[in-house]
């Protein structure tokens, strides 16, 4: 491998190592370990009650901040292991409801490079990813919009395809199906989607997760536009003047812009920033999210490319 190519790989890896590490088109080489912390600040004032957009003066602005540890290890050049753990804190600027905070879910993923092919002046790559997540703490999902998560255990197979030109332009599409386990509430009954349930168990509809990006990178700079899609395959709407419920049909389409810079010094340190906004949704807040953080790569094996 040529040194510049490795540079770009590291650069891109660092830039996308949030949930995007799972969706992106990059692989850590064997015995490399990339790790770091990413901070996200997200807020919304308007939300969709079903399809009806509104605000709520008893919530004001809902703020979620999160610090996430992320790690990505190259088991082989073709197999990467990824792990993420966020600490989440919520609050509302109005009303009486207390915020919540705590360690949320552990995400583990295994990513396998299925196909890599030169086509005309670019490279086509396809990945298969299996990821899963499970709550690490006993937080309640029954306190939306102030719960720190959904408390569901998930398993999610994903396919990603990407095409990158030698000039640096690339396009990527990634799609996953997310199986979600039932969740337990602290109460013995609930009403959702037109029915009453006399149990503390909630069936969680599965989800489709899409990620689409167009980007450019060359040397130390990268810019990417991306769309993140979440479609919940079932579930009820938030009723008029009701609180959201964990199994609601929460759909969203978010537009994001990624900006990223790889420091010449210290070596192996990447800084990244990502801003995203909900274009459209159902039963979710219309949020603006800003993320920033750093990632550092350790090389456990000296190789010719260093």
């Amino acid at each position: 491998m040529r040194p510049t190519f490795v540079f770009i790989i590291l650069f891109l890896l660092a830039s996308r190592a949030s949930a995007q590490t799972i969706t992106d088109h990059l692989m850590m080489p064997k015995k490399d370990f990339c790790t770091g912390f990413l901070y996200t600040y997200e807020r919304w004032k308007d939300y969709w009650e079903g399809a009806q957009k509104r605000d709520n003066q008893n919530i004001g602005t809902l703020i979620t901040s999160q610090i996430m540890w992320v790690g990505n290890y190259g088991l082989t050049n073709k197999i990467n292991l990824i792990a993420m753990v966020p600490y989440v804190k919520t609050s509302a600027t109005a009303g009486t409801l207390a915020g919540m905070e705590g360690i949320q879910d552990l995400t583990l993923a295994i990513k396998y490079a299925l196909v890599k092919k030169e086509i005309s002046s670019g490279t086509f790559t396809a990945f298969g990813i299996l990821s899963g997540s499970t709550p690490l703490t006993n937080y309640t999902p029954d306190y939306l919009p102030l719960s720190i998560g959904m408390a569901s255990t998930t398993v999610s197979p994903r396919l990603t395809a990407t095409y990158k030109l030698a000039s640096g332009w690339y396009a990527l599409a990634s799609a996953a199906y997310v199986w979600r386990s039932n969740v337990s509430l602290d109460r013995p009954s609930y009403f959702t989607d037109g029915n009453i349930y006399f149990t503390n168990q909630v069936w969680m509809p599965n989800q489709f997760a899409g990620f689409y990006s167009l980007g450019y990178n060359k040397n130390a700079l990268q810019v990417e536009f991306n769309l993140t899609q979440q479609n919940t395959l079932g579930g009820g709407d938030i009723r008029k003047q009701d609180m959201p419920f964990v199994s609601n049909r929460m759909n969203s389409m978010r537009l994001g812009v990624l900006g990223m810079y790889y420091l010449p010094k210290p070596k192996n340190l990447a800084l990244r920033a990502h801003v995203s906004y909900t274009l459209n949704g159902l039963n979710v807040g219309q949020s603006m999210a800003v993320m920033g953080g750093f990632l550092y790569t350790f090389h456990f094996v000296k190789n010719d490319n260093q």
């Binding site: 009486t96 207390a98 499970t134 199986w179 602290d186 109460r187 037109g194 006399f198 909630v202 008029k240």
Partner: protein, 545 residues
């Protein structure tokens, strides 16, 4: 991956409790002699002797209709039979809880910051009618269960009266008819299922006018189920339906005069006549005055200020008018009345104002400061297990309310005790009358003192459940739960300990959630126990023991 071995989402989580086909431990054949609640007596409404209404030929035709239906039962119809064979009283209680949860949503504020009020004449508009909040629900639960109970007492009276005219169920008369529900050794005329279907559905239609279609279908299903199951003929069903409707009319009639109540099933129609000298209690119990007016809300605040206290204010934005401030004047079960005939047959008489708890600590007192500090410490240091208790008992907007939660708890015990339909109806009637009385007593107290919530006195107090939009003193959850423990402990004495523990937990949940002071929950609890004891005293003398 280990994750793959985790149990995964299963849609079939069971939307209803585990109920089993009901074979009563005792059919309570003498229930026609038990004390009625609103009917002057079990035979206030007369129904005809089946020997007179049904000639032999008609009877045989009705048996043929059952055989014909049984010969072509669809899978859906079999499911309907199974659904209702667990006991109609338990099913209606469940269905009722669903309707309460569905309609328990507050109105959305207007653009100008004012709030609209639900309007029974315009129920489909925004806001929907009703807003089935806790006091509204407590009253509704009590009326429907009283109607169901009185109607069944009348049904049992006539089953006994006409047992020689109609001793046997269809499956006992004709070997070609199968019994597809558990056999119950009671005369089939009038059908108890049809009786409750008429009484309950007519009550629910008045309470939830936009759900008439759903209610009508469920009631018809229940009647069809007993016919398909070989348990009752069209005549048994028609008579029960008319009887049930008559009891509901007696309670909900909005005018006086003579009413004709018609019960129809298959080719059979039975008409009953009911003459009422006064409007139904449901129309005259003073609920209409419960909402109040801007002037009456201000008067409540002025009265608190005149006493040197800080008056309650709404913590919602925009400020929402207090929930049903006049609910404390709604007639209770055991009301002394003054009207003729007396409002109900319940003794001892309950005078709500005489049972009112003493004043809470003054908002300016040291004791109040101490109690406020205690609430604040819960707000700041609440544990996960306390949050779990807060959420277990929150029963707030969009749920079946605290009375609904206690009906949910009671259901399991009624099921396990294998109560007959009439005894199950009695249990729910007693429980829900106590809830209504507790709600009235609590509301009378809340608006007499008009005391602020902790979060009003200290804006830094954040809560782990919504702050209810009415004064703090006393706690409705505590009052309702203590009344529940009193009645359930009477019905199921071997579980007294459990009911008291649960009631205490429900009461404490409001302190853990930082929405109530200790005085609210402690005084509410003892108030609720006292009010519940009135219902227990009545139960001890109603002839059912």
């Amino acid at each position: 991956m280990a994750l793959l071995a985790m149990p995964f989402g299963c849609k079939d989580i069971g939307s209803s409790e585990n109920l089993f086909p009901l074979t009563p431990a005792n059919v309570d054949a003498n229930a026609g002699t038990w004390k009625t609640i609103l009917l002057t007596s079990a035979n206030q409404i007369s129904i005809p002797d089946p020997a007179v209404t049904t000639q032999q030929a008609t009877y045989l035709t009705e048996l043929e209709a059952i055989k014909d239906a049984q010969s072509k039962l669809t899978a859906d119809q079999k499911r309907t039979i199974e659904y209702w064979s667990v006991g109609g009283v338990l099913r209606w209680n469940q269905l009722f809880r669903k309707l309460v949860a569905q309609f328990n949503l507050p109105p959305v504020p207007n653009v100008d910051g004012s709030y609209p009020f639900p309007d029974s004449e315009n129920p489909f508009s925004n806001p929907q009618f009703p807003f089935a909040n806790p006091p509204y629900a407590a009253r509704a639960y009590s009326y429907v269960h009283v109607a169901m109970y009185d109607a069944l007492l009348a049904a049992w009276y006539y089953k006994n009266l006409y047992k020689s005219s109609r001793p046997d169920s269809p499956y006992e008369v004709d070997n070609a008819i199968q019994s597809l529900m558990p056999k119950v050794d009671l005369p089939p005329y009038p059908s108890e299922e049809a009786t409750m279907s008429g009484a309950v559905s007519e009550m629910l239609k008045v309470l939830f006018p936009t759900a008439v279609e759903e209610i009508t279908k469920l009631a018809a299903d229940q009647r069809n189920a007993v016919k398909w199951a070989g348990k009752a003929t069209d005549t048994d069903i028609a008579a029960g339906l008319a009887l049930g409707k008559a009891v509901a009319t007696l309670i909900t009639a909005n005018s006086t005069g003579t009413f004709t109540l018609s019960g129809a099933s298959g080719a059979k129609t039975i008409n009953l006549s009911l003459t009422l000298a006064s409007r139904g209690r449901f129309r005259t119990d003073n609920l209409g005055a419960a909402v109040g007016s801007a002037a009456s809300w201000k008067a409540l605040a002025d009265a608190a200020i005149a006493k040197g206290e800080t008056p309650w204010i709404s913590l919602e934005v925009p400020p929402r008018p207090p929930m049903l401030p006049g609910f404390g004047t709604v007639k209770v079960w055991g009301d002394p009345g003054g009207a003729t005939p007396k409002a109900d047959n319940i003794t001892p008489v309950l005078i709500i104002a005489s049972e009112r708890p003493v004043a809470p600590p003054s908002t300016t007192s040291e004791e109040m400061k101490r109690q406020l500090a205690e609430v604040k410490s819960y707000a700041k240091n609440v544990t996960r297990s306390q949050i779990s208790i807060v959420h277990k008992w929150a029963d707030g907007a969009g749920t079946y309310t605290p009375p609904g939660h206690w009906n949910d708890i009671a259901e399991e015990y009624i099921r396990d005790a294998k109560f007959s339909e009439v005894r199950a109806a009695r249990a729910f009637a007693l429980l829900n009358m106590a809830f209504h009385n507790a709600a009235v007593g609590c509301w009378e107290t809340k608006y007499f003192y008009f005391n602020p919530r902790p979060g009003q006195l200290d804006g830094s107090i954040k809560t782990t459940t919504g702050v209810p939009n009415f004064p703090a003193y006393t706690s409705g959850h505590s009052t309702i739960s203590a009344a529940a423990a009193a009645v359930l402990s009477y019905l199921f004495p071997q579980n007294t300990h459990y009911f008291n523990d649960q009631a205490k937990e429900a009461s404490n949940s409001r302190l853990y959630g930082a929405i109530h002071f200790r005085a609210d929950i402690e005084m509410g609890f003892s108030h609720g126990s006292k009010i519940g004891s009135y219902t227990v005293n009545f139960a001890q003398t109603d002839g059912a023991n």
